[in-house]
């Protein structure tokens, strides 16, 4: 309550203050901005840059997988000692896989996705002037940026970047001499991730606090758009899970640099050098890592779910099917995600009984996931669908979530996992369900909220081109991997031609590589569209998609504080699309029920007896008029 009165107090000043508008300097406006909309754009552009870099890394190692014997002189020109004689160095191959995974999971799909849309949408959709602590928010971006620079700088050191996989299991990560990437590269990885976690914690704390404290008048929790619900639960997950990774990393640093034995036990390097470690347990690291790592995959997918829900409802011109079920399933996923980490560790010699427990909790996650899928499909059903680019990507997200989610049921099974663990089946599974699905959710968000961010529209035709090539490309890349995995082809191997039984998959690998190159080229259609539209796109109107949520009530020109006058009050939920009896097929959240008598329904007045009386009276008069006629 106190928050509200303070904000009203600020409003009075706003109106009289319009005349002498302080001009911000370049530095405070674009660089060290504390405005949430600018920070959102900073996160988006850094995220897209990192995504392009990580995508190019993946193309490099895909070339190696497709042509393991062939020499490409161009590679040596580009990469120097990392590709002697035009063939990728095997250690550099591992570094590429590691950094591709790290960047995509953390820098693109965690910071790029949540960072962009939480910063943009939380204040705008809830009716707040900015975040709880704009300063912390700015700090969060600059920590993220520094972390990105440090992560990339590891390509420029003598022995190359970290290469023990994005999960940095010890002993590869704990012994600086274990492999080339375990030295300086690993150190940089750890420094970068510590900064990254600090950034995520600052951001997450801010998001949670803003959502719980700074909603505008009338915006109770059950009137929040699903995007905000998803971003809220994502932030909660981050706040609870990232500190655990810090604990794991602290112990890892002690093992690396102080000679403790938390994760290390009797180890002999190079066959001769006996290491002084004793009694440590590498499994301990896996427990700590996956206690973060599993919630992390939901940190990645939940914002995409929220964005898709919103985009699909707007473009189907229909209320989201099962709003409450959507929220409860998000809460269910949040809670369950903390008790399933063991399914990453079925083959570590875990007690089979414990494996059974983790298997059951894992399979239970299928229930809320299926609820969400069903609700998305039911939202589309008989909708008045507008196939905007954002809508296509949202539907694509659902498609990937289904096809990738189904394989999760097999992987979550402790017995089947013995066969499938660490094969391409896993690679296919998570690239579809959290990789492609989350990136499609993010792209849906970019196309949908681009007018809000930059005041201009993106080109729809290029958007369609981008969608179809990416959509088909992603399936062509990841679908064949299931079959490789079923055949037992392991992930992270440098050249399959070395193994008699896997040689026959070479043709498939070549096919996948060309599909990946095709999909990668399509991303340049997006990049061109994105950059061109920022400067020369068609000017957007205030509410180009005819959506209900609050962000579309702000002026197209950005101003610090979002609304020029008073912050609008909210009277209804965000999904009043195509309400029978309404004049238009959308009723913004700011329209009071008293202005829409013809479309009101009795359940709109659940906690409001006076309103219900008025409604009944109005219906009676209408009926009488009918009789007179």
């Amino acid at each position: 309550m106190s928050t509200l009165s303070v904000q009203d107090h600020g409003v009075a000043h706003h109106e009289e203050d319009h005349g002498h508008h302080h001009k911000q300097s370049f530095l405070t406006k674009y660089i060290f901005s504390q405005d949430h909309k600018m920070i959102a754009k900073q996160f988006l552009i850094t995220g897209i840059t990192m995504a392009v870099i990580a995508m190019l890394l993946s193309i490099l190692f895909r070339i190696q997988l497709a042509y393991p014997e062939k020499s490409f002189p161009l590679l040596e020109t580009l990469l120097g000692r990392f590709a002697p004689n035009g063939r990728l160095d095997s250690n550099f191959y591992l570094a590429l896989v590691t950094i591709h995974g790290t960047i995509m999971v953390f820098f693109v799909l965690t910071a790029g996705l949540s960072g962009t849309f939480a910063n943009l949408l939380i204040p705008l959709q809830l009716g707040a002037r900015d975040m709880a602590s704009p300063f912390l928010n700015m700090l969060s971006y600059w920590f993220f940026f520094t972390a990105s620079v440090i992560m990339l700088s590891s390509f420029f050191i003598q022995k190359g970047p970290a290469s023990g996989g994005w999960t940095i299991y010890p002993p590869l990560s704990a012994l600086p001499k274990a492999m080339p990437g375990s030295g300086m590269g690993m150190t940089l990885w750890l420094i970068s991730m510590v900064l990254f976690i600090a950034s995520q914690l600052m951001a997450g704390i801010n998001y949670v606090s803003t959502i719980l404290n700074m909603r505008t008048k009338g915006m109770d929790l059950w009137k929040m758009p699903l995007t905000v619900w998803a971003l809220f639960l994502t932030a909660v997950l981050g706040v609870l899970a990232f500190p655990v990774l810090v604990a794991g990393v602290v112990l890892l640093v002690f093992d690396r640099s102080f000679g403790t034995s938390f994760y290390l036990s009797e180890i002999v390097l190079n066959g001769t050098q006996v290491q002084p470690y004793e009694g440590g347990s590498p499994i301990l690291f896996q427990h700590l890592f996956w206690f973060l790592g599993h919630p992390e995959v939901y940190i990645v997918i939940m914002p995409a779910m929220g964005i898709s829900s919103e985009v699909m409802s707007v473009n189907s011109r229909k209320p989201i099917f099962g709003y409450h079920a959507m929220v409860y399933s998000l809460i269910g996923i949040t809670v369950l995600s903390f008790i399933v980490w063991g399914h990453h560790m079925f083959v570590t010699g875990m007690n089979p009984f414990l494996g059974g427990v983790f298997m059951i909790t894992t399979l239970i996650i299928a229930v809320p996931s299926a609820v969400k899928t069903f609700n998305w499909l039911a939202t589309l059903w008989r909708g008045n669908i507008r196939f905007t680019a954002a809508m296509l990507f949202a539907i694509g997200m659902v498609s990937f979530f289904i096809s990738g989610g189904l394989t999760g049921i097999f992987l979550g099974n402790a017995a089947l996992d013995i066969n499938l663990h660490d094969t391409y089946f896993v690679v296919a599974h998570f690239h579809l369900v959290m990789g492609s699905a989350a990136i499609f959710g993010m792209l849906a968000g970019v196309y949908h909220w681009f007018p809000k961010m930059f005041g201009r529209l993106m080109n729809e035709k290029l958007g369609y081109l981008h969608f179809w090539i990416t959509f088909i490309g992603a399936y062509l890349v990841f679908f064949p991997m299931h079959f490789m995995g079923l055949d037992g082809v392991p992930r992270r191997y440098y050249a399959f031609t070395e193994f008699e039984s896997m040689k026959r998959w070479l043709s498939v690998n070549t096919f996948i590589t060309w599909a990946a190159i095709m999909a990668a080229v399509a991303q340049f259609a997006f990049l061109f569209n994105f950059i061109y539209s920022i400067f020369f796109g068609k000017k957007a109107t205030q509410n180009p998609w005819q959506a209900n949520t609050l962000e579309w009530t702000t002026p197209v020109e950005h101003l610090h504080g979002n609304w020029p006058g008073e912050i609008p009050t909210v009277y209804r939920w965000p999904y009043d699309y195509s309400k029978p009896g309404a004049e238009e097929d959308f009723i913004p959240q700011t329209v009071p029920l008293s202005q829409t008598m013809s479309s009101n329904l009795p359940h709109d007045f659940e906690d409001n007896p006076t309103g219900l009386q008025e409604h009944a009276k109005w219906i009676n008069t209408q009926n009488k008029n009918e009789e007179v006629k």
Partner: protein
Amino acid sequence: MTRIQQQEDKLNLAPKKFNMWIFIFTSFMFFAALTSGFIVYSGGTGHGIHIILPQAFMYSTAVIVLSSVTMFMASRAAKGLQFAKQRLYLWLTIILGILFFIIQIYAWYVLVYKMGIYFTNPNASQSFIYVFTGMHLLHILAGILLLGYTLWGSYRNIPQVKNLFGMQMSSIFWHFVDIIWIYLYVFLLLNQY
């Protein structure tokens, strides 16, 4: 407008206090992860602590509990507009905090030189003692800095709203590090053998 906006942000203290509570949750998760790590480690390898913890930890516990009491007195004095008293109790809290810090370091000294329990140790259960206390000391350090900042503010005669806000922020944090220490100490005591 920007200036007004910033003023408004500064007055928006309730959400900032909420930020502190969430931060405490993250901190709690961090220590929960470390202690869970201990349980997984000692359960999996059969290594326990197998020593009697130095007496010093008992004294440091007494000191930090006392510092929580003085912190409470300082808050009460601040609410009652007795600023001299507030400063006195804040000074006491800071001094007790520093004393706690010193006693913890002394406990490490006892562990290393009297008992021969090193940080670099094949039995990581014993290394965990150093990790718990060390990570907690980092929090103590942050707490002392926060207390110092609040004390500095009270000497500068900042508005009472802000003074109270600073007091609330630092007392939430200080009581939290106190409780965390008791949790860690009890945890270590229960796992002594």
